[in-house]
Assembly symmetry: C2
Amino acid sequence: MGLAKTEMFTDEQNKIALFAKVFGHPARVSILQHLFKINACVCGDLVNEIGLAQPTISQHLKELKHLGLIKGSVEGTSVCYCIDTDNWAKMKRVMLQFLDQDVSKTECC
Amino acid sequence: MGLAKTEMFTDEQNKIALFAKVFGHPARVSILQHLFKINACVCGDLVNEIGLAQPTISQHLKELKHLGLIKGSVEGTSVCYCIDTDNWAKMKRVMLQFLDQDVSKTECC
DNA sequence: TTTATTCATTGCAATATTACGATTAAGTAT
DNA sequence: ATACTTAATCGTAATATTGCAATGAATAAA
């Protein structure tokens, strides 16, 4: 099918999965790391930075923007992207809660 | 294509993407949360707990096992699953480093 | 006004993912 | 041995993802 049966899961589970999914491609990881590293708007050079074709990068940026993790503002002919810090923080809280579940000492298997 | 060009990214970026990808489906999120919640080996009842068919659950478990996040041990006719705490901790370190990148005050866009 | 430049969108091919019925494998019980 | 239980695997259909060439839209430069 290729189609997740989201209706049988909680909103939280679906949200975690959506965030994780967008991190599930190295190009998007790389884009985000670059945006963090230069800590400013990046106008265009993402295509040079990462080795993928321009439409491919554009598509990855669209997905990141769709989830609200980055913002883009038009600046003449180019577009400036940067991390949406508020939404990043919100996402982080959700993911941390999932990752920080801790197993008590009880070893079983 | 549907095929990520992993060779143009760092090992770290690929590793983050691999972990994130496995969390990118609510069924696997749900399985992991359940394993954490009951904090013991789960023998079988995941199929009842989650509403998917047995082969589907088995396939998701396989992916989680393949990444080392869970272990399964045969117990008679059934199989007991639980979190692999060591590997979970390792994964957590990698993901936290990615999520905790912090944007300094510089607001741009 | 033409010509670049920059980025989004469209369309498409290749591959991956998700889900499940049917089957198999392996252990248990009768 | 036979029947039952549990879980993995196989095969397959439906859908999603990835990547890029071609094209389009919008601004800037000549």
